[in-house]
Structures are given as C-alpha cells and as structure tokens.
C-alpha cells in the first residue's frame, strides 16, 4: 500500500516537473512550480522530515512561488524576443541525452549505496539532552551544527545586500517597489486587518514549539514575513526605507548575537560556539530570539526587491 502511494506521488512529481520545464509560457511554468512545491512537501512528510516539509511549503513553494509570480508579471514583454533563441531539435536531443546520462549515473550511484547506511542519529540522540531542546533538528541546527546556521544567517544578510546593491543611483536608500494601492473597504484590506493577529499567534507558536516539536524560527519567520507583506499589499503600510537605522539594526541583530554567543564560548567552554555546561538552553533561546527579527525582515525584504523610489511620494 505504501509503495502504491509512493509510486503515485513520484509519478505526479515527475510529471509536474517535466510539465513545468516544458510549459508554453513562463506564467504556466511558475504555476506548475508552486504546485510542484506543495507536492514536494508531501514527499518530505513521506521521508519523515516534518520540519523540512514545513520549510518547503512555506519557503520553497510559497515564498519562491510568490517571488517568481511577481517577476513573471514584470517580464511579460521579454518572452517573445527570447523565444527565437530556442535551440533547434538537434541541440534539444543532445541536451536530453546529457540529462538522461546524468540521471542514469546518479541512479547507478543510488543503487550502489552502502548498506547499512551511515548515520549520525546514534550520536545525536544521547547528546540531545545536554542541549535542553527536545527536537533533534533544532538541536542540530543550534548546537551540533550551529556554525552552518550562523553562516546561513550571514548568507541571508549578504543576499539582501546583493539585492539592495542593484538599486539605481537615484533610489539608493529609498523604498522598494511601488506603493501598493488597494480599496480600503475591499476584501484585501479586510483580510490584512483580520489575518495578521491570527498569523502572528501561529508564527510565534511555531517559533516556540520548534524547541521540542516540528517547527522553528525559519517556518515561523516565513509566516510573520507573509503577514507583514499582506499588510503592505493591502496598502495599509508602506514598504520600509532601506536606509532606516532601525531596519538595518533589525537585519544584523541575529548574526551579531550569534557571533557574540560564539565568541563567549571561547573563554567559557573552550571553543567557538561551544556552550558551557547548563547554559545551552538559555544561549540557544537567545540566538533564536535574536535571529527571528533578522529572518522576518530579510525574507520580506528579499521579496520586496531593490529600492526603486525616494521619499514618500505616492
């Protein structure tokens, strides 16, 4: 029975991926990609990765899909011109051959994997207790492999700097995108007033529950960022100026607190990012609380794009 379900999911997944890749125009491709992201979350559940499934649904499908949808609208006019550059049947056949060869080589590697599989789970479980968190994924993210999470937070900030750097000179330090206009009595404005209180509670619950159950700061930050963007799209609040000191402080507070905790570990526990005995849980909590505003701001600002206008002119 499980094999049948698995086979159906796999068939749908591959069909959707192929459909997305060869779709007639970019809008259809993006629509296909969003559905593909949702189906992928199901794959993560089947692979026993509830935390990964939540992240995939929120960020992989949701945020990436919304980002691509926004881009499609602005790139409408450029599609016809590039269509002429589509490679001929000969090159397409060669590309298909190459893709098949890569797939076959990977499949061979999968079928010759060692048995039993190498695993770090037996090392994680007995050491989890010393971190004070119950969710092994959170334990890995913030204790055993905290360095990866620190670098990731820094990569996010660098990504935002990259996006902001694309601002034209005259808009430097200004606000991204157009100010959204919506009917103040319309359904969007209504939802933007009703949903955020609920979304904020759900987001903070996921944040807090992440210590012992599936969830955590990334999934939580995505929901909070989505609530903020909903308010922006309904025209209830403008996108922030990128030269605001508070905004910039909020963006860097997470990585800075993370580095500070790491440096504190050198005299206190003998290594960068090491937690002294009994201090693990409070330090992890401190990092998570500091990372939350960084993640919310960076995720939402990455969606907003580079600054494109100055002042408060509408």
């Amino acid at each position: 029975m499980t094999t049948v379900v698995g086979a159906v999911i796999v068939a749908l997944l591959l069909w959707l991926a192929l459909w997305t890749v060869v779709a007639r125009d970019a809008f259809l491709a993006v629509a296909g990609f969003v559905v593909y992201g949702l189906l992928l979350s199901l794959v993560w559940v089947r692979l026993a990765g509830i935390d990964v499934a939540l992240t995939e649904a929120a960020i992989g499908g949701g945020l990436t899909g919304a980002l691509l949808l926004g881009a499609v609208g602005r790139l409408r006019g450029t599609e016809a011109a590039t269509a002429a550059e589509r490679p001929g049947p000969g090159l397409r056949a060669l590309a298909a051959l190459l893709a098949l060869a890569v797939t076959a080589a990977l499949m061979l590697a999968v079928l010759s994997l060692p048995d039993p599989a190498p695993t770090l789970a037996p090392l994680v479980v007995p050491n989890l207790q010393s971190t004070g968190v119950g969710n092994p994924i959170t334990g890995v993210l913030l204790a055993f492999r905290a360095l990866d999470t620190l670098l990731e937070a820094i990569v996010l900030v660098i990504g935002l700097i990259g996006v902001w750097s694309l601002a034209p000179d005259h808009a430097w330090g200004g606000r991204p995108g157009l100010r959204y206009q919506a009917d103040p009595d319309g359904i969007l404005a209504y939802l933007a007033r009703v949903l955020p209180p609920i979304g904020i509670v759900i987001g903070l619950y996921l944040f807090w529950a992440g210590a012992d159950h599936p969830g955590g700061k990334f999934q939580s930050a995505t929901i909070l960022a989505a609530m903020w963007m909903l308010v922006q799209m309904a025209g209830l609040s403008d996108t922030p100026r990128s030269d605001s000191g508070w905004l910039r402080l909020g963006i860097v507070v997470g990585p800075l607190a993370f580095v500070a905790v790491g440096v504190f570990g050198i005299p206190a526990a003998g290594a960068f990012l090491a937690y002294p005995e009994g201090w693990a849980k409070p330090l992890i909590l401190l990092i998570e609380v500091a990372l939350l505003p960084t993640l919310v701001l960076v995720l939402a600002l990455l969606m907003n794009g580079p600054p494109s206008r100055h002042g408060d002119a509408r």
């Binding site: 997944l13 980002l67 602005r74 190459l98 990866d148």
Partner: protein, 106 residues
C-alpha cells in the same frame, strides 16, 4: 522497493529534468525555474539518504534534515538575488536575452 530508494531514484530524474530545462529554455526566468527543480532533486536525494540513516529511535538522520532546512532557505535567497539581477538587466537593456550579441537596433 523501499520508500527511500523510490524517492532517491525519482530525485535523480528530477535533476535530469531540471538540467534539460536549463539548457533548452532560452528565457533566464525559465532557466531559473529549471535550476530550482534541479536543486530540489538534489534536496530529495539528500532527504532520502537521511531516511536511510534512520536509527536510535529516530525516523530519519536529523543532521542531513537540518542541513536541508538551511539549504532551502539559502536557495530562496539565491533565487531572490537572481530575480533582482534579471529585473535589473531587463530594466537597463530592455531585453532578457542572454545571447552574446544583443539583437540589432538595441
């Protein structure tokens, strides 16, 4: 066939599908979508390996799963930077073409 082998093999096909799309689709946004599909293929393969590593009472090895969460977030950031670059390219050249010689008259 076990669940993880099934998904691992599917992941190999996803990498191939994404690679094909990245080569044959001329529009950069289509290449970006295809590249993301290729990326998810790598993620699913990694996730299947995590499932293979189920031990010590856990349903899957948590170390690769935690790295997957990191990977998904970083992939989103990279996609956002690429989209911004692409929109800027169109803004300043009026074409999304990646050809060496831009079409005449631009």
């Amino acid at each position: 066939m076990s669940v993880e082998t099934l998904y691992a093999l599917a992941a190999c096909a996803l990498v191939g599908i994404g690679l094909y799309g990245m080569i044959v689709q001329p529009h950069p946004l289509r290449k970006l979508i295809a590249f993301n599909i290729m990326g998810t293929g790598v993620f699913v393969l990694f996730g299947a390996l995590a499932k293979r590593g189920a031990a010590a009472g856990l349903a899957a090895d948590p170390v690769p799963q935690a790295l997957l969460i990191t990977a998904i977030v970083v992939a989103f950031a990279a996609t956002a930077v690429t989209v911004a670059l692409l929109l800027r390219l169109v803004e300043s050249t009026d074409t999304a073409s990646l050809a060496d010689e831009p079409p005449a008259g631009r």
